[in-house]
């Protein structure tokens, strides 16, 4: 084995390079802080592999270009940050309805409205509850390091193709802007049969990709079919546990906050407090069954988020009745320090 290639890159560039490692040849986007290094990198490097980069006139156009490229079976991506992701929701709904794969990156910032450019986890509901109209789901992956930005982006393309479904990477400004050394993989992009792809009806019957079903019963059937698919996605559940073996209390956090609170948990351990971490990596499907089983051993959970309370609902829905679920939320504006989160752990730990 040759020595792994390590490079110092920022989180956004890691996503762009993950996309290229996954064989993504098409990118469509519109500039917005704090994710501009993604389009900047791809505008420079996609031409190397005969790929296509389009800076579209809007986020709406970008998502629909993604829909079009995805419809041909090509690996394609768009990225944005919160306000731009709101604009993409219609397209995501159509992609889910027409079962068109594609990767959407949200390096989220703070809202509501124009909000600000500081990190936030205020888009959890939007990402995991559909965001657009209709009863659909998007696979949502939440990295917590620059390395995971890279690895999960590669994975996102495989999941999108496997399930014929949009997949979202939900990061934030912190994960986009920070630099860390990462190990680059010599990735062989996954190969998926795409008999449904629109390529011109040569030597086969014409086919179409659509989400409109007006004949009686058809839409019901279509929705049940999608539901079955969402059930199957549970096979993809991914999570991390840290120091939970003997824990009296388990902190539940995702993304950048999970990263910060790991240090706080170490501080708590040094003080003799038996605290561990449960970090969902797939936010949809949420690791509810794992958390439920954990709640049979541990009865105290502490959800910590960079918002005023979103994922905590999933924690409450997952754990057994009788478990205590505490919450600490931080609205956008400042990033909590390990010390501050340690103080919050101390307040609820007993």
């Amino acid at each position: 084995m040759s020595k792994p290639k390590v490079e110092l890159v920022n989180g956004n560039e890691a996503i762009a390079r993950g996309a290229m490692a996954a064989g993504c040849k098409f990118y469509f986007g519109y500039p917005i802080t704090p994710q501009n290094e993604i389009p900047e990198y791809l505008s420079k490097h996609l031409p190397d592999i005969d790929g296509t980069f389009i800076q579209a006139e809007s986020e709406i156009a970008s998502i629909n270009m993604l829909l079009g490229a995805g419809a041909t079976g090509a690996r394609a991506m768009t990225s944005s940050s919160s306000p731009g992701i709101s604009l993409k929701q219609e397209g995501i709904s159509y992609m889910a309805g027409s079962e068109i794969p594609g990767v959407i990156v949200n390096m989220s910032r703070s809202g509501p409205g124009l909000g600000g450019i500081s990190p936030s986890q205020g888009d959890y509901f939007q990402a995991t509850r559909g965001g657009g109209h209709g009863d659909y789901r998007t696979i949502v992956l939440a990295p917590f390091s620059v390395q995971e930005n890279y690895d999960l982006t590669i994975k996102a393309f495989d999941l999108a193709d496997q399930y014929r479904n949009p997949v979202m990477i939900l990061g934030d400004a912190l994960l986009g802007q920070m630099k860390e050394p990462i190990i680059l993989r010599d990735n062989k992009p996954g190969k998926f049969d795409k008999p449904w792809a629109l390529t011109g009806a040569k030597n086969r019957k014409p086919q179409f990709l659509k989400s409109l079903y007006l004949n009686e019963g058809d839409l019901t059937q279509h929705n049940w079919k999608l539901f079955q698919k969402y059930q199957q996605m549970k096979a993809e559940i991914q999570y991390e546990t840290y120091r939970i073996e003997d824990a009296d209390m388990v902190v539940v956090s995702f993304g950048s906050v999970a990263r910060i609170i790991k240090s706080s948990i170490n501080m708590a351990r040094d003080k003799g407090m038996k605290v561990g971490l449960f970090r969902p990596v797939t936010l949809y499907p949420y690791p509810e069954e794992i958390l439920r089983r954990l709640s049979q051993k541990v009865h105290h959970f502490f959800a910590v988020e960079l918002n005023t309370g979103q994922m905590v609902e999933d924690v409450k829905l997952s754990v057994d009745k009788g478990s205590r679920v505490d919450f600490y939320g931080r609205p956008p504006g400042s990033i909590p320090t390990p010390n501050e989160l340690f103080d919050e752990i101390q307040k609820v730990y007993r």
Partner: protein
């Protein structure tokens, strides 16, 4: 016996759902004839739109991708960039292209996107039941302009063929009508030119069809054809507004 008239290969053998006297069926047929004429059936992908033309995939025997309302030009861009060897067109009504999708249309044109937009202008929202469109004529009563369109309230009907002829990336922009046999013959000639522009990789091509909507205009088919002649053509003149020469490659 010699067969002198038949269904184009690119159309399926099913009856149209369109109202009597509606021009969509004729325009569908013209598009299908052009696909056949250049032997494109097996290498065409269409981005359908939302409106009366939403059922394209029921009539055309080609690959079709449904687009969100107004976004067909963006969807077609994604398709064409991934499949540059395919013939890619959108088929959009006035609400779809001239209202919601005007940004996507103008920017696809300005990028010189090598796609063809078939634009059907019948001055009204057909499928939703006759509401005002961006192309509704001054004075025309619709369900949402019941006293007639007044420019002081609703502005003026928008001329898309002229507007899109203004961008540098547009290789071809024209307006045609199919209300008379003569106009229909001319429309087919113009449509073929638009197809050829894309086949020569010359960039964006656009054909606006003036179309009737007898149901929402509350007219007979004959009266509707007459209205195209009397009211629409004077405001929306027929003609070619932009045509790059054959040697003018992007």
């Amino acid at each position: 016996m010699k067969q002198v008239f038949k269904r184009p290969n690119s159309l399926r053998d099913v009856p149209f759902h369109f109202c009597p006297g509606c021009h969509h069926g004729i325009i569908h047929r013209l598009v299908a004839e052009c696909i056949d004429a250049y032997d494109l059936r097996e290498k065409t992908v269409c981005a359908a739109s939302v409106g009366c033309s939403v059922f394209m995939y029921d009539y055309f025997d080609i690959d079709v991708c449904e687009s969100p309302h107004g976004r067909a030009a963006a969807v077609a861009t994604g398709i064409k960039r991934a499949l540059p060897e395919c013939f890619v067109f959108t088929y959009q009504g006035d609400g779809d292209l001239a209202a919601l999708g005007i940004a996507e249309g103008v920017h696809a044109a300005n990028r010189g996107e090598n796609i063809t937009i078939i634009f059907v202008n019948n001055t009204v929202y057909g499928m939703t039941g006759g509401q005002m469109a961006p192309t509704t004529m001054l004075g025309q009563a619709t369900t949402t302009s019941p006293f007639g369109r007044d420019f002081r309230r609703e502005g003026y009907p928008i001329r898309m063929a002229e507007l899109l002829s203004m961008t540098e990336g547009t290789a071809f922009s024209a307006r045609v009508a199919v209300n008379t046999p003569k106009n229909l013959m001319q429309a087919k000639k113009v449509l073929k030119k638009a197809f050829e522009v894309q086949l020569r990789n010359q960039g964006f091509s656009f054909v606006e069809f003036l179309s009737s909507c007898p149901t929402n205009w509350k007219m007979s088919a004959e009266q509707a054809n007459q209205r195209v002649h009397d009211e629409m053509i004077p405001y929306f003149p027929l003609g070619v507004f932009k045509e790059k020469s054959e040697t003018d490659i992007l």
